[in-house]
């Protein structure tokens, strides 16, 4: 019996040795969350948040990982940010309590609860999105994922793109529905450097 246990432990040794979680810190200059929402049933309007921070871990051998993102909602940008003689820009309006309510809820966050892999790259990141003080499950589908050394500074880095769809009313953002769509498509472009 003891021999069998010893043999099993020895057999598992190579695999445990391969388990190698790596942690990465988000590069804020190349990590952005984008949104897309229908406007008046006519066009799809897009915008993005300019400031995102966070970390992710990756263990390609064990096929596990985790992501934590914090998005500063006041940094949103729709492209309309020059007021001129108008009372406010679209960015100003999006910051009010009608939409992102940035004075009360300055951060939107995503914390993963599980990562699925396809081969040795992540394919789905399940987690919890917190927006306007409400936390709901969200699964990001990873559309591309690459790990390599930065060709300029030679630092090891990973990154890619992921997307998901949420209903903004689930988070209490009800203003303007249905004229301004309830379904919001989110994209994340993410890059991080190994710690």
């Amino acid at each position: 019996m003891k021999k069998a246990l010893l043999a099993a432990a020895l057999a598992a040794l190579p695999f445990t040795a391969q388990a190698n979680p790596e942690s990465y810190t988000i590069d804020p200059n190349h990590t952005f969350m984008y949104w897309e929402v229908e406007h008046l049933g006519v066009s799809m309007q897009r915008g993005r948040f300019e400031r995102t921070s966070g970390k992710f871990t990756l263990d390609r051998a064990a096929k596990t990982g985790g992501v934590e993102l914090a998005v500063e909602t006041a940094s949103l940008s729709s492209g309309d940010n020059v007021k001129g003689s108008r009372p406010r820009t679209l960015d100003d309006h999006l910051r009010t309590a009608d939409f992102f309510n940035v004075a009360e809820f300055p951060r939107m966050s995503f914390k993963s609860t599980g990562v699925k892999f396809a081969g040795d790259v992540p394919s789905e990141i399940a987690g919890q999105l917190t927006l306007l003080g409400v936390t709901r499950p969200l699964t990001l589908k990873v559309e591309r994922w690459v790990c390599k050394d930065n060709p300029m500074n030679k630092k090891p880095m990973c990154g890619g793109n992921a997307s998901a769809t949420v209903k903004r009313t689930d988070f209490g953002m009800k203003y303007g529905v249905p004229a301004i769509g309830d379904e919001v498509r989110l994209w994340v472009s993410m890059e991080g450097y190994k710690d």
Partner: protein, 273 residues
């Protein structure tokens, strides 16, 4: 129909006014015509976002309290005889309540900014609650003050804060307008009481405070709006209810207009705000 009910003017003004008119006409005989304001706000809440919400944000807390206040008003009117201290005590209660409403924003501020913001919204809500409550025995002036306060705050909020805050405030004005119109149609006073004055005073105090805390709403406009309950006390001609209602509504309207102008960015820049 869905498209019609989705229009901001219908959600914030027309539908609340129609509901308030029905409520004021149906309930003035039971001394509850003042429920017109609560009915108007409830209509706007239903059409804009629905009633299903946990009180997470300041706006949700404002709506929760504002929808409950008409019930408090009915209790005050029918079960108690308010004493001299009632206006001050009610002001204090709702002044403290606004701190709970704004706690998420307030706790993110540094000490000095926290004290200024908390003191400002406390004073504004306490004052509007007390000053409106003090008009409870004068239904024409109470209706005119609530009309000017709701519309002035609504337009100011739409210009410089959030559109939904603006719509909710306009619905209060629409409810008060319906209350005033019923008096003009009947050519006699109907009871305003705490039911109308608390509904309008607390709702507008909380909405203005929410706009101040969460949006770039002008504190100067808020200060001017606070003068409306005083402005409607100016002397009015004794030539009948119509003339009196129109005159005191103009008094309140002029102050409301001044607040709207102060919320316009071009005017703010010229005045150096």
């Amino acid at each position: 129909m869905q498209e019609l009910l989705g229009h901001p003017a219908v959600q914030g003004g027309i539908a609340p006014f129609a509901t308030a008119l029905v409520v004021a006409l149906a309930l003035f005989g039971a001394r509850l015509g003042g429920l017109a304001v609560g009915a108007a706000l409830a209509t706007a809440v239903y059409l804009i976002g629905g009633f299903a919400f946990p009180p997470v944000s300041a706006q949700q807390k404002i709506l929760l309290v504002s929808l409950a206040v008409p019930v408090v008003g009915v209790i005050v009117d029918l079960a108690f005889k308010p004493t001299r201290a009632a206006a001050a005590v009610l002001g204090l209660i709702f002044g403290v309540l606004v701190l709970w409403v704004g706690i998420n924003v307030l706790r993110q501020k540094e000490t000095t900014a926290l004290l200024i913001a908390a003191g400002g919204v406390f004073a504004l809500t306490a004052w509007l609650t007390s000053a409106m409550f003090a008009l409870r025995d004068d239904p024409v002036r109470a209706g005119a003050a609530a009309l000017a306060l709701g519309l002035g705050l609504g337009v100011s909020a739409m210009l410089s804060a959030s559109a939904s805050y603006g719509q909710y405030a306009v619905s209060v004005g629409a409810g008060a307008g319906a209350f005033l119109l019923v008096q003009m149609l009947l050519n006699r006073n109907i009871v305003a009481g705490a039911t109308l004055t608390l509904s309008a005073g607390v709702a507008c105090g909380l909405i203005a405070s929410g706009a101040l805390l969460a949006s770039p709403f002008s504190p100067y406009a808020a200060a001017v709006l606070a003068l409306i309950p005083v402005a409607v006390r100016l002397p009015a001609p004794k030539g009948g209810l119509w003339l009196q209602a129109i005159t005191v509504s103009i008094y309140g309207g002029i102050v409301a207009l001044a607040a709207c102008l102060l919320s316009w960015p071009g005017v703010q820049q010229r005045l150096g705000f």
